[in-house]
């Protein structure tokens, strides 16, 4: 038996931290004992018409108090994430986790590393920035409104990029890296596909090991249904085809292992 389980977690706090962005701490029974940065949990709504999970990355892990923090975007009206945002302290939520592999810590340890987050890919970089022992450059890209920046500042040197130019480097994370002349030895990244694509090609050009956290629609979250695959240049040992499962083999992959 492994460390994955389904739990009913109590909501400890719920806070809106930016437009449509919410931060929630939940009290787990055991899931937090095993969780590592880069892993995610499947969150379930109470709405009986919505049966699939919403996979959400762990933003912070408090092992001592057995709590997890998730920071998530409400994607629209009538969505599951909107329902999560209405949960109040004392209410509870069904979760399954911890899921996925998480960021490998070893490659970055003691090195000059860049942690790159874009949009709703920012939150998972927080726990990584807390746990990774390294010279950390934290490059976070936002459309306009910033969030989690105070927390990041405690865990490394923070570089901000905003699309509307309202803070930090105008543009995206790659623009910030160029402008600030950053030259990491290892990269960890999470964000939208176009950003990951840019980071991947930058890293591969410079021959830097680069770990990307991928996203895909999920049903089981545990590797059974084959919904959440991403393409791989090589034939994958498990699938025997050019596919890896984001939920089980990932969500974190070495950039050279996957097509984005």
């Amino acid at each position: 038996m492994s460390c994955k389980r389904k739990e009913k977690a109590a909501v400890v706090s719920q806070e809106q931290i930016a437009e449509n962005i919410y931060s929630m701490w939940i009290q787990t029974e055991e899931i937090s004992d095993f969780a590592v940065p880069g892993q995610f949990i499947s969150m379930y709504t109470e709405d009986q018409s919505k049966l699939l999970p919403r996979p959400i990355s762990l933003c912070e892990i408090d092992r001592e108090k057995k709590r997890l923090r998730v920071v998530y975007r409400v994607t629209g009206k009538g969505t599951g994430t909107e329902q999560f945002s209405r949960l109040r302290p004392g209410e509870s939520i069904q979760i399954l986790g911890p899921l996925g592999n998480g960021f490998p810590m070893e490659p970055g340890t003691g090195k000059k590393v860049c942690l790159i987050g874009g949009g709703i890919g920012v939150p998972p970089m927080l726990e990584l920035s807390k746990q990774l022992y390294a010279e950390k450059q934290l490059v976070m890209g936002y459309r306009d409104e910033l969030f989690l920046t105070e927390e990041f500042e405690k865990n490394g040197t923070l570089y901000i990029a905003t699309e509307d130019g309202s803070a930090g480097t105008p543009g995206n994370v790659m623009d910030a890296i160029a402008q600030k002349g950053l030259s990491p030895e290892v990269i960890y990244a999470c964000g939208p596909a176009p950003m990951l694509r840019a980071v991947k090609s930058y890293a591969e050009e410079k021959h830097i090991p680069c770990y990307v956290s991928m996203e895909e629609r999920m049903a089981c979250g545990v590797g059974a249904c084959l919904a959440c695959v991403c393409r791989t240049p090589e034939i994958d040992a498990h699938s025997q085809v050019h596919n890896k499962r984001v939920c089980k083999d990932g969500p974190v992959f070495l950039s050279t292992e996957v097509e984005i």
């Binding site: 038996m1 498990h238 085809v241």
Partner: protein, 306 residues
């Protein structure tokens, strides 16, 4: 007293004896390994594997799934590692457990199916389930499952080559399920399973595109249960071979609808995705119901609602 009677939950499917009537639906439980972290596989009547073909299949492009009201839609496209790796890796894994192994077989042509069936002859698979009802692949699959003559023909061919008893899995996307059931029975099917998914479509009105890349997908989950129960009832009243019922089973009460309608066994599919313990809970709940209704043997419940 009410709960003390001994009750016999064993099911005989074409000579294969399952400890209870509950199995996992193909494609929703991998090859058992992933869910073995949550569920004691020994408590299941059988594990039905994801469909396996003669060679590895890459499946469809993503997105492969979408949420629908009270259910989901999938167009995985039968991605599978091929029969060689399957026999080397997945069967030995399942053999470690005290549960029956049912291998779900898919193919594009009759020859494809036969190749897999023959390859399984010397493997410790207990039953073969032939999927002629997958709506998500262009060739094969459902093409066999929507025409009685093709269905009868492929059943006959498979039966000629199969060493294990054969379950034919039917598509609900037909005018008459009774006719399809009779066709595969005539072809020699030992058992019939139904339903596979109902073909559906979801449109993302904001992006003005299909929600799954394949355009259409198969709808499963509790939303489709009444259609599945009706089809199981019609099939059970049309043929003599045992029926494995499925489609939207989430709990014992749901499973019992199928059993009372005529299913000798049931499969739990989509429900495992949001409740990994679902199949085991169904098995336990059926036993509780048997005690409550003083049914000594599970077969005393099969098809009693006429």
């Amino acid at each position: 007293m009410k709960n003390s009677a001994v009750c016999d939950t064993t099911v005989d499917l074409a000579g294969v004896k399952l400890k209870n009537p509950v199995m996992t639906a193909s494609g929703t439980f991998g090859s058992g390994e992933e869910y073995s972290e949550f569920v004691d596989l020994n408590r299941l009547g059988a594990v039905v594997t994801k469909g396996v073909a003669n060679v590895p299949w890459p499946g469809n492009p993503v997105p492969r799934i979408a949420e629908t009201y009270g259910g989901m839609m999938n167009a995985i496209g039968l991605q599978n590692p091929g029969i060689d790796v399957f026999c080397r890796r997945d069967i030995p894994f399942l053999k470690k457990y005290d549960t029956k192994i049912i291998v779900n077989v898919c193919g594009k042509t009759t020859e494809d199916y036969l190749e897999v069936v023959e390859r399984l002859a010397d493997e410790p698979a207990d039953l073969l389930e032939i999927n002629i009802s997958c709506p998500n692949v262009k060739e094969g699959g459902i093409a066999f499952g929507q025409d009685p003559r093709s269905a009868e023909h492929i059943t006959r061919e498979v039966k000629k080559h199969a060493k294990q008893p054969v379950i034919m899995k039917l598509s609900p996307n037909v005018t008459s399920i009774a006719e399809m059931a009779k066709a595969v029975e005539a072809g020699g099917a030992d058992v019939i399973s139904l339903i596979n998914t109902l073909t559906g479509m979801k449109i993302d009105i904001h992006r003005q595109t299909f929600a799954v890349a394949n355009k259409t997908g198969g709808v499963s989950g509790p939303a489709i249960r009444p259609i599945a129960v009706r089809m199981v009832y019609e099939a059970a009243n049309a043929v003599k071979v045992p029926i494995i019922g499925m489609g939207g089973i989430t709990c014992a009460e749901d499973a019992l609808e199928f059993i009372l309608a005529g299913a000798s066994a049931v499969s739990v599919g989509t429900a495992s995705f949001y409740n990994p313990m679902a199949a085991v809970q169904v098995a336990e709940g059926i036993e509780a119901y048997m005690r409550q209704h003083r049914a000594e043997h599970i077969r005393d419940l099969v098809g009693i609602v006429k």
